[in-house]
């Protein structure tokens, strides 16, 4: 048995960065819900964070190899849950994404499946043992991702479904996909995407609307285009230094849509300006760099794969969310990690970080 991990082996620097992000998140949620019926969500967020910290500590005590071992079971159970959502899920705002566990707790399986997929990917590519990837290997990796992705797309929840892709991409990349193979895959996707775009059937009408209004926000001034427009105004009006905490007129006047979840970065930029926004990007930069460093130090392949899977998911969500807020990406409904309000998102992130902690603690274990 390797030596027992202790608090001293925790990555306190990573913890500090995450903790700082969480404080900023709570303060911004407080500001963004001040004049709305969601007032008090900052307190709920603190509750989620505390639960997240506890789960993080607990999971960091478990040897991540045990988790990799049970990954296929977790994968199977995850698929069952996704199926259950289709049958008995709670319908909220046009999507069937949650299972009501009673007592006001809603369970979002698609968020947990993300964690399972990271573990599954790590296990899968470890099993391939660094050999050159055949087309069959690549196809299996795709299959692992596409099955849960299909269920989540059907909920429909394009945003969460898309977050499964970076897990696959980083797996293939680190797993040793050859440039020629990736070129063929990209071409295939381009063709498929083009065909889908032309037929217009694969995307829901609101998904089409999001893309068209991204290209031309004025087509739908009260709908998705309105959201983008209000977001751009919020960010732009923030200027260099921002308007100050609780002073953002777009945020406080309820012009900015859901300023505590998907558009929290717009709210933050309005109130804290370019300086504050870049500060957030800097924190993300430090967190991601620290994670990559941990991956580099990881003692074996699954450890590195797990950390890099988390890096990929986080980076993808940051790009898509902030890209949407500043008008570089269409509206997809992906929360900003460590910033947006929401229990499932926080629990995913903290559980993943707990596993990362364990990987770091075991970096010298050989």
């Amino acid at each position: 048995m390797p030596r027992i991990s202790s608090f001293r082996d925790f990555d306190w620097m990573l913890m500090g960065l995450v903790f700082l992000m969480s404080i900023i998140s709570v303060l911004e949620i407080k500001s963004a819900t001040l004049h709305t019926r969601f007032r008090g969500f900052d307190h709920k967020q603190i509750g989620f964070l505390l639960v997240g910290l506890l789960l993080m500590y607990l999971i960091s005590m478990i040897d991540y190899h045990r988790l990799v071992d049970i990954a296929p079971w977790a994968y199977g159970i995850g698929l069952l849950f996704l199926l259950a959502v289709r049958l008995v899920g709670t319908k909220v705002a046009g999507g069937r994404r949650w299972i009501n566990l009673g007592g006001g707790i809603h369970f979002q399986p698609s968020e947990w499946v993300k964690l399972v997929l990271i573990l599954m990917m790590a296990r899968y590519f470890w099993g391939l043992a660094g050999r050159r990837l055949s087309w069959a290997d690549i196809a299996k990796a795709f299959a692992l991702i596409i099955v849960p992705m299909y269920f989540v797309l059907k909920q429909p929840d394009l945003g969460t479904a898309l977050t499964y892709l970076p897990v696959l991409v980083v797996g293939l990349f680190l797993g040793g996909i050859r440039p020629k193979q990736s070129a063929v895959i990209l071409l295939l996707f381009a063709l498929l995407g083009g065909a889908a775009w032309v037929s217009g059937k694969r995307l829901k009408s609101y998904q089409m609307a999001r893309i068209t209004s991204f290209i031309n926000p004025d087509t739908d001034p009260r709908g998705t285009g309105y959201q983008i427009r209000q977001s751009l105004i919020a960010v732009g009006a923030g200027g260099l230094w921002g308007k100050g905490t609780n002073q953002g007129t777009q945020t406080q006047g309820d012009f900015l849509p859901i300023p505590y979840t998907d558009f929290i970065f717009a709210a933050f930029c309005e109130e804290h300006g370019f300086v504050g926004g870049v500060g957030i990007l800097l924190l993300y930069f430090l967190i991601l760099m620290r994670l990559i460093e941990i991956a580099q130090q990881a003692s074996d392949v699954p450890g590195a794969f797990i950390v890099m899977g988390l890096v990929a998911v986080l980076l993808f969500q940051i790009v898509v969310n902030i890209g949407m807020v500043v008008g570089l990406m269409p509206v997809t409904g992906i929360p900003l990690p460590l910033m947006s309000y929401g229990g499932s998102s926080i629990l995913f992130t903290f559980l993943a970080l707990g596993i990362v902690m364990n990987i770091r603690m075991r970096r010298f274990v050989n």
Binding site: L128, V170, G176, P221, V235, A237, G239, T249, G277, V278
Partner: protein
């Protein structure tokens, strides 16, 4: 399918992920975050100013702050028209929403016809978007609840607190005060309202119209912060305070007005009471009346059609707009003409129930026997005045009638005064392109024929004659309480014969006024004799159908004669003159004289109480100049020291 992790781990324990690839991901992270930072730079540094403008436009809304209108008081500072707080519903158009789709829902919630809302929207189509459209004024609590409950579906509805007009009930002084209303589309096209905006509330008749400029004040505005639902929150950013309208003091005496309203109850017609010394109108009543409160808030179609279709013309201010034959009240003007021309002094006429002039018999209501000028007035003998008219001729009559203000507006500061008619040879040639027949003058002699006067004209003319020929411009607002330029503007807007002095020989003045005093003692109106008050006057019974003129037959219904009475106290230099027109009332002595007597007695009693039993005395006998009281102090209100009566002596009627 999936290799066992346990199995593989033992084989590939030393396998490591390529360090280069991990290094590459670091560059990807840097690159991606840099792109995001660039996106923020574009919005927050390069676009900051324009986005700031957009953010301001989002949240700042200009709201009108309506200036409360000035209140209206009577001459003693008692309130006549007040304001009360009320809530109005406005439609905001800055939401970028298709308003037409919401109209049916709004119509249901606010209980308004759909076409009315559409018409309102069209009316405001050309005004700037930030101007809120007034949809409904003085909304009920239910309607307020509807607006609150539909904030999300109908964010374009907003309520504002406003001050609304509170008029006296039951049409009290309604015609005099007038009413306010929103400018109509037609109003806006007229040059009179060049500087007004749709939705402005203006005075539309009466004092409210004439003195709109004084009463209306200046609307202010507030820049308020609103949320995306248009709901106001936080403190206003800036505000331009509304300047409230100025209060207005009328010459009306509420006590006299009240007596006049009471007197006119159950009658159609008009009553006007005036102080002939100054032209100050003390009371003005027109019946039937309307309810100005209905006009200033929510004029229903039913009420409007009821008002305009009423054959008794409730909207007409009959005190200044009814143009009717004066009947025998005109005999005072005839007497003036006859005396001043030196014809009537020694005239004696034998009345046998009428007389034949120009081959036609003209009836008198009684056999008066031998009649002179004094008894002609006292008994209202038609035969005497037929004869006098024959002697004077129409143009002499017209000259005196015009001098005392007939056929011209008086110039009262109220809108749409009528000017009446005084026939003459020139008038007939001009209006009917026909020659005047001398026989037509006979019926003019008793105030029939083509002569038409308004009650106010008659009050001013007879009051002026009793004041020795001093005629004043009637007015309802004290001229010295207005800025001089506004006074000039109002006088030129409402032109009329204004202040003037008609030369009257003192003896003739005495003759006429004494005869008028006899009317209420031993004459036609002796039934309304007021004990202890020097009450003078003249009755009139104006027949509406030509063939019965001068006779006893007053007919019935709408053909029944109009009853007139012009009364005053005291007989010379009166402090009050009251003209009463009781439409289709029959005999002036029976239908009109008692009403005037009530008002005069109320006035005199009030003055006596106020001045501590001051004798309401006759004026001193005319000396060199008949012009009374040039300093404007009414005789009755003069200090006791001026008059010989002991301070506490009871008022005694002079012979």
């Amino acid at each position: 399918m999936i290799p066992s992790a346990k199995l593989e781990r033992s084989i590939d324990r030393d396998e490591k992920v390529s360090a280069n690839k991990l290094h590459a991901t670091q560059y990807i992270v840097v690159l991606v975050l840099a792109v995001l930072a660039a996106g923020m730079w574009r919005l927050q540094i390069l676009g900051a100013d324009s986005y700031r403008v957009l953010a301001e436009a989002n949240r700042v809304r200009k709201e009108p702050v309506r200036a409360p209108r000035g209140k209206i008081f009577d001459r003693e500072g008692r309130i006549m028209v007040d304001n009360y707080p009320s809530v109005s519903c406005y439609l905001l158009r800055e939401q970028g929403k298709d308003l037409n789709a919401d109209i049916p829902m709004i119509a249901r919630g606010l209980d308004l016809p759909v076409d009315q809302i559409e018409a309102t929207l069209r009316r405001f189509a050309s005004s700037p978007k930030y101007v809120p459209i007034p949809l409904k004024q003085d909304i009920t609590q239910d309607e307020q609840a509807f607006i609150e409950a539909h904030r999300n579906e109908l964010p374009e509805l907003e309520t504002f607190d406003e001050q609304r007009r509170l008029y006296p009930r039951d049409g009290f002084a309604a015609h005099l005060i007038g009413y306010v209303g929103e400018l109509s589309a037609e109003d806006l096209n007229s040059s009179k309202y060049d500087f007004y905006q749709p939705g402005d509330v203006v005075g539309k008749s009466g004092v409210e119209e004439t003195y709109d400029e004084v009463l209306r004040g200046t609307d202010g505005s507030r820049d308020v912060i609103v949320d995306s639902h248009g709901k106001e929150f936080g403190k206003p950013l800036a505000q331009q305070l509304a300047i409230p309208g100025k209060d207005l003091r009328l010459t009306i005496d509420l006590d006299v007005q009240r007596a006049a309203e009471l007197a006119m109850q159950g009658h159609n017609g008009a009553l006007v009471a005036m102080d002939p010394h100054t032209g100050e109108i003390l009371a003005m009543v027109s019946r039937p009346a309307f309810d100005p409160n209905q006009f200033s808030v929510r004029l229903t179609r039913e009420y409007w059609s009821q008002i305009v279709n009423d054959p008794d013309h409730p909207m007409m201010n009959k005190a200044i707009q009814a143009q009717d034959a004066p009947g025998s009240t005109f005999k005072i003007i005839m007497s003036l003409a006859g005396l001043e021309e030196g014809v009537a002094q020694d005239m004696r006429v034998m009345c046998n129930g009428g007389g034949t002039f120009y081959g036609r018999f003209f009836a008198c209501d009684k056999h008066h026997g031998m009649v002179d000028i004094e008894h002609g007035i006292e008994w209202s003998c038609d035969t005497f005045y037929y004869t006098l008219a024959e002697k004077l001729g129409i143009d002499t009559i017209a000259k005196y009638a015009t001098e005392v203000g007939l056929s011209q507006k008086t110039g009262v500061d109220l809108p749409e005064e009528a000017s009446g008619t005084m026939p003459s040879t020139a008038w007939k040639l001009k209006t009917q392109h026909e020659k005047w027949y001398a026989g037509e003058a006979i019926s003019v002699g008793i105030g029939q024929g083509a002569v038409q006067v308004t009650p106010l004209q008659l009050a001013r003319a007879l009051g002026g004659i009793a004041s020795g020929g001093v005629l004043k411009r009637p007015h309802v607002v004290f001229p010295d309480e207005l800025p001089p330029d506004m006074l000039l503007a109002i006088q030129s807007t409402y032109p009329g014969s204004g202040d003037r002095v008609v030369a009257i020989t003192p003896e003739n003045w005495e003759t006429i006024t004494d005869a008028m005093a006899a009317v209420t003692v031993t004459g036609t109106a002796s039934a309304v004799h007021l004990e202890g008050i020097d009450f003078a006057g003249k009755t009139g019974t104006a027949q509406l159908v030509n063939h019965s003129i001068g006779g006893n037959n007053l007919l019935t219904g709408n053909a029944r004669a109009n009853a007139w009475f012009v009364g005053m106290a005291p007989r010379r230099n009166p402090d009050i003159v009251v003209a009463v027109l009781a439409e289709h009332g029959g005999w002036g002595a029976e239908a009109a004289a008692p009403l005037a007597a009530q008002v005069i007695s109320a006035f005199v009693n009030k003055q006596r109480k106020k001045d501590g039993n001051v004798l309401l005395t006759d004026a001193p006998k005319p000396a060199t100049s008949p012009a009374p009281n040039m300093n404007g102090v009414p005789t009755a209100m003069a200090t006791p020291a001026v008059h010989p009566g002991a301070p506490n002596a009871p008022a005694v009627k002079q012979p």
